[in-house]
């Protein structure tokens, strides 16, 4: 999913770098008011864990692999603002230290993974959680679907960038079909890892999970009634 330099032309890359920078600036503000002494270190750990798991490519189809993006996972654990920042730190480390993902493409990658991946994942998580009974396993199911659906959306972000400023001339619909098909498969892996990781944190420290906090309050209210 990390776009290398050269796939998308410079004007488009610069434009998306501007959007990405704006998104990061807004996330800095949002995270400032949502982090406390317990969740700030958890946000750091979330970024660290996502960096590690992004190294673990799993096979999805003949000759293709995928790895966790982590946007939905981070959003569920620490909320969307801190999640966007966590993913951006991961992408910066990968591009600057490991030459993974292009330098001119950094804004494109931040847009797709730190903004689209996180916010689509978070929106799906909230939506699914609303539809399900309020308990811990609903959080895992919602996390699974959030992970699953966030990946094709992030892939669609690339297709959008390709449509605006791709350096190749292959048809957009051909790229769209291939990207969505492949990334739906990768999304299944994303969903499984997201649900497992959220489930593990829920089992040991559910009080830390951003996406579970609202649920506990509702439960307490119901008991009192």
């Amino acid at each position: 999913m990390h776009i290398p330099d050269g796939f998308i032309d410079i004007p488009t890359s610069v434009a998306f770098a501007g959007i990405a920078a704006t998104g990061v600036a807004i996330s800095l503000k949002g995270a400032k008011s949502s982090l406390d002494e317990k969740t700030a270190p958890l946000a750091g750990l979330t970024a660290t864990f996502i960096f590690a798991v992004q190294m673990l490519n799993f096979p999805v189809a003949a000759g293709t692999s995928g790895h966790l993006l982590g946007g939905a996972l981070a959003a569920v654990l620490v909320g969307p603002w801190a999640a966007s920042l966590a993913l951006t730190v991961v992408l910066l480390m990968q591009a600057l230290l490991f030459a993974d993902g292009g330098l001119t493409a950094l804004g494109l990658n931040v847009f797709n993974m730190s903004l689209v991946g996180v916010w689509v994942g978070y929106a799906i998580f909230i939506l699914v959680k609303k539809l399900l009974p309020k308990n811990k396993s609903s959080v895992s199911i919602a996390a699974f679907l959030a992970g699953l659906i966030s990946v094709p959306f992030a892939a669609a972000g690339f297709v959008l960038q390709y449509a605006i400023g791709g350096t190749a001339t292959f048809s957009i619909s051909q790229v769209l079909t291939a990207m969505l098909g492949t990334h739906f498969l990768i999304g299944i892996g994303e969903g499984v890892i997201t649900a497992l990781a959220v489930g593990a944190v829920m089992a040991s420290r559910s009080d830390l999970v951003y996406g579970y906090k609202g649920t506990t309050q509702t439960l307490e209210t119901r008991v009192k009634e």
Partner: protein, 101 residues
């Protein structure tokens, strides 16, 4: 606070293990975007990244011959660097929040 520290330490050690050891068992097939680019035919549009000769490029430590060691060490360095930068950032943001109140 002790319970919190235990949890954070466990997560950090798990990350070190995943990036330092399990990473050697990761699939080396091209990822989704790379595969699509190769199949459709725009993979050759990719340009060499400016850091591609860097000390840690492509998740290996330059000069370390043993591939397992090289990947594992790169992973460990990445985990420590990511933990340092991200935790530092979030703690600074948290402190600013406290100062505003």
């Amino acid at each position: 606070m002790r319970k919190q520290n235990k949890f954070l330490l466990a997560g950090f050690v798990l990350s070190l293990f995943l990036a330092g050891v399990v990473s050697n068992y990761a699939s080396s097939s091209p990822d989704g975007l790379e595969k699509v680019a190769g199949d459709i035919g725009f993979l050759e549009n990719a340009k060499e990244q400016a850091n591609s000769d860097g000390l840690l490029a492509d998740y290996g430590v330059k000069g370390v011959e043993n591939e397992r060691l090289s990947t594992g060490a790169a992973g460990v360095i990445g985990v420590i660097a990511t933990a340092g930068v991200s935790t530092g950032l979030f703690l600074i943001l948290r402190r600013k929040n406290g100062a505003n109140k």
